[in-house]
Symmetry: C2
Subunit: 282 residues, 2 copies
DNA sequence: ACACAAACTGAAAAATATTTTCAAAAACAT
DNA sequence: ATGTTTTTGAAAATATTTTTCAGTTTGTGT
């Protein structure tokens, strides 16, 4: 079911409208949110037409009547607010910058969820759950995602590994065996260190999982299981600031799936690991 | 302007509602989209109360009347699936778990944005911009946030430092001077290592910034500038999985503010640092 | 347990809002 | 210019929402 937004409907029919219907259309587009607080008479007055014309307008637009129109118009409001151009502008003030950054990241999260392939998530969870060893591979920002994953996996009792040094990563990959999992993370999907590690792991019979942000990439082609993160271009039209966050969200989800497959054990592990760091508290 | 979503309002007031108001609340939450196509009488019938009670319910929720309620309710609709209870349940399937995790994190992002104090952000940005040295402090998960921040700050040409070892962190803190910035990160706001570092830095005249997730905490009390992240409880009602993501979003925003204060320089720095890692590509 | 007060609720009345009807006005074709 | 079609707004008809008010329930103090 493809829902056409109210604004799009109005624009689409604009040139087939009668004179007074067009007055209404223009007023509505120009005062979108204000209209939501108007009753039919107020809207008619503001648009300088009669109540009857407003009703006709609503029906022309395909709604049952004025109320139906208003409810449907309201449903477009938030996305509209969110659809503002998220690219930063030199003149943006602090608040605007923050809103844009948060919006972009939220948008990236939503789009990631919509493209997330559940069968791949399930396969990944199953592989991780039964894994002998789990090793994360990545460099730069993706290394940090790997470290975060390791941290969280440990919290629920999984022994995961991650190495900073690319040589160490390669060595670790070469020591993996059947039943182990190599988890490669790369925004571009074409980081050669990660790719080599994944390849080495695969040669040794380990299951490989790739987490990338772009479509078909060397890493996603090579990996047994592929997960994709959606991104938003913002800063300088450059590599997204949102990548990290979306990748973390995917790993959080994976983690939760795992935790809930072995609820009791995970619960205990969380309690244990929390106790272990609790004397850090002031 | 803090916009509270209609669903949140209902949840928030749920236990202060009268019996028939609660009936309505429950019906509305359970049949959210359906309600938008109901007039007041239909809703009253479905919820098994009188029309009058529905009006009272709308007013209790802070709306002018039924129409106002419906329009505002409609405004929440498109971010679909945001309305279900985000706590995970043993019987949730993979897709549901993913949706819940993403929703919780998005919700945490939204709430963080709404509580973010812009004057603190500006002060933080100004301090960082003029800083001689910038050092991030944190342990466990927060250390990773610090590392991520360091990584991103370097990308736009800022020299930031972060140390894994708590002794090193303490040493670094003791070497800070006036004009430097100590940036402490701690979910609980009471990590003693971070607190000690912040204190030491302050004693030496450095500006201190605290990024925490809970209200007034030892760290936020000590720090010159405090930033707060909202969180969502999900997994095992335990420490939130969303913390990391929200903290990153705050740092992304801070980074963007900085980048846009010195647009040209940042742009160049990004190009330079990107070139530096580009031969990693396959 | 009982009496009283306060709060809550629904039926019906009152107030509003929406939709339809219909005749006049405008636009259009011939 | 004239007749036809379409569009329009005023007013009537209908539907919806809100308020009022009296009966009922709930809670409190004795």
């Amino acid at each position: 079911m493809v829902e056409i937004s109210c604004v799009d409907k109005i624009h689409g029919k604009m040139n087939r409208l009668t004179k007074s219907e067009r007055k209404i259309a223009q007023y509505v587009l120009a005062n979108y949110e204000k209209v939501l607080n108007c009753n039919i008479t107020e809207l008619a007055e503001n648009a300088k037409v009669s109540d009857a014309s407003v009703v006709r307008f609503c029906k022309t637009m395909g709604y049952k009547g004025y109320q139906d129109f208003k409810v449907n118009a309201a449903m477009d409001v938030l996305p509209k607010d969110r659809h503002f151009n998220p690219s930063l502008d030199k003149n943006d003030d602090t608040e605007t910058i923050c809103k844009k950054i948060f919006s972009s990241e939220i948008s990236a999260m939503n789009r990631t969820l919509s493209i997330l392939e559940m069968d791949q998530m399930e396969k990944a969870a199953e592989a991780l759950r039964n894994a002998g060893k789990i090793v994360f591979f990545g460099t730069g920002g993706s290394l940090l995602v790997g470290k975060d994953a390791q941290h969280k996996f440990m919290k629920i009792g999984f022994c995961a590994f991650v190495y900073e040094d690319v040589d160490m990563q390669m060595m670790a990959a070469s020591l993996l065996e059947e039943g182990d999992v190599a988890f490669g993370i790369s925004h571009s999907g074409s980081n050669c260190h990660v790719l080599n590690c994944i390849k080495a792991a695969a040669e040794n019979g380990a299951t490989t999982i790739g987490l990338v942000s772009q479509g078909k990439t060397p890493i996603s082609k090579q990996a047994d299981i592929s997960l994709y993160a959606a991104t938003e271009k913002t800063m300088f039209q450059s590599e997204s600031v949102s990548t990290r966050i979306v990748q973390l969200a995917i790993l959080d989800s994976l983690l939760s799936i795992l935790a809930f497959k072995d609820y009791e054990a995970s619960y205990e592990a969380i309690q244990e690991t929390r106790k272990a760091t609790s004397n850090n508290k002031y």
